[in-house]
């Protein structure tokens, strides 16, 4: 029943009292930290969240902090202070462990979990259990491992180099850079004049292909860029029913 008080304290709107309520209940031995089921706690959290009409980050923040707090209380009860170095700045930092397929799996981890479970079910005995050496002993790295690490590093280097070359290959060709650079008002004006001329003859939508000097990709892009400028300036509209189909240009107001 007292555990319920902890849940209520966390999920209530009061931001000040909840931490002291938890400490007070544990200090007065009204609640055993081992009785606080963190999975039930997350269920309570999800229920609360589903009831909320709007997102309340304050509750999420409280829940994360409360879970960390309770985990630390439980850890301290285990006597494994060394195992959790979350708040003591003067202690050495937790080693950054990157996920790796060959990552080392701590064989002691399972033992620690079993030990925690054992203590949970034998609360009377919990203070009698001596903490064990929880950090596994480390060994020297061999030159063979150094060589295999080098092999891997060189592979990464080569892979990155291949990627870099591949990216360079798809870089926009020089001509397009030139086209972009030289996309001066005169170029837009020339195309504009051409469009007006064609529109004057047909009074209909103009097929983009009719503007091309030749069919190559570069010429297509070079011609299309000024069209985008003209369209952006509201002088024409571009139509294409489906991707990769013919592009039609409609000169707006007849005289742009």
């Amino acid at each position: 029943m007292e555990t319920k008080k902890i849940y209520d304290a966390i999920f209530s709107e009061d931001d000040i009292k909840w931490q002291s309520i938890i400490y007070e209940l544990i200090r007065n031995k009204k609640v055993d930290p081992w009785d606080i089921d963190l999975s039930k706690f997350s269920e309570e959290y999800l229920t609360t969240i589903s009831k909320l009409k709007s997102l309340n980050f304050r509750i999420s923040g409280k829940v994360v902090l409360a879970a960390a707090l309770m985990l630390k209380i439980k850890t301290n009860h285990l006597g494994l202070d060394d195992f959790i170095l979350l708040t003591n700045d003067d202690e050495e930092p937790i080693e950054e462990f990157e996920y790796d397929e060959d990552a080392y799996i701590d064989p002691d981890e399972k033992k620690i979990m079993n030990l925690a479970r054992h203590i949970r079910h034998n609360t009377k005995k919990k203070y009698l259990i001596e903490p064990r050496t929880v950090r596994p002993r480390q060994r020297k790295v061999t030159v063979i491992e150094l060589m295999s690490a080098l092999k891997k590093a060189i592979e990464v280097d080569k892979r990155r180099e291949r990627k870099r070359v591949a990216v360079e290959k798809i870089i926009i060709p020089e001509e397009i850079f030139e086209a972009k650079k030289d996309l001066l008002p005169e170029q837009i004006e020339t195309l504009n004049k051409k469009l007006l001329e064609l529109f004057g003859k047909t009074k209909a939508k103009i097929l983009f292909d009719h503007l091309l000097e030749n069919g190559d990709e570069i010429n297509r892009v070079q011609t299309f860029l000024p069209i985008l400028h003209l369209a952006n300036n509201g002088k024409l509209s571009i139509h294409q029913e489906k991707p990769f189909e013919k592009i039609y240009l409609e000169v707006l107001n007849g005289r742009n």
Binding site: E92, E95, E96, F97, E98, D100, D102, A103, Y104, D106, P107, T133, R135, P136, R137, Q138, R139, K140, V141, T142, V143, E145, L146, M147, A149, L150, K152, A153, I154, V156, D157, R160
Partner: protein, 156 residues
């Protein structure tokens, strides 16, 4: 004296990362550093004389209980290496190049390399020299001693 030696041995056993003389002095309640040094050296000799799988080493003023080199292969699967895989790859790459700009290492090994380099410099495997806006990294004497390599030996 044997009692204190036992205390030191227990301390070294419980702290895989090793202890400084100061820490040993605090935990064992022995203020004389000279005595502690003498006992540590004796302990070192005891271990090297008997057919033990362990030895006592003094690495950068840190006293450690460590597995003897000839048994490293045996414990390879059981004990965690002192240098993590990713950090070792960065170290190997730098050592292979002999001398390389930090910026180039980061370009090849990603931003994580900053952390790796920091750790390797702190552990004395790398040294960093200023090179314009960037830094030049090279392996230290400790690196060559640790892996039993010579500086002129190409790493490939």
């Amino acid at each position: 004296m044997e009692g204190i030696k036992g205390q030191i041995e227990a301390l070294l056993h419980c702290r895989p990362n090793g202890l400084t003389l100061e820490e040993i002095s605090n935990h064992a309640g022995v203020s004389s550093k000279g005595l502690l040094k003498k006992l540590l050296t004796e302990l070192q000799e005891d271990y090297s004389e008997r057919a033990s799988g362990l030895n006592i080493i003094n690495q950068d003023s840190i006293w450690k209980m460590s597995v003897k080199d000839e048994h490293i292969e045996t414990v390879q699967e059981v004990a965690r290496p002192e240098i993590s895989t990713a950090v070792l790859e960065t170290l190997a790459y730098i050592a292979h190049k002999k001398s390389i700009r930090q910026a180039d290492v980061v370009r090849i090994r990603s931003n994580k390399a900053y952390g790796h380099i920091k750790e390797l410099i702190e552990n004395g495997f790398l040294e960093s020299k200023k090179d314009g806006a960037s830094k030049k990294l090279c392996p230290t004497r400790k690196f060559y001693e640790y892996f039993k390599l010579t500086e002129d030996q190409p790493l490939e």
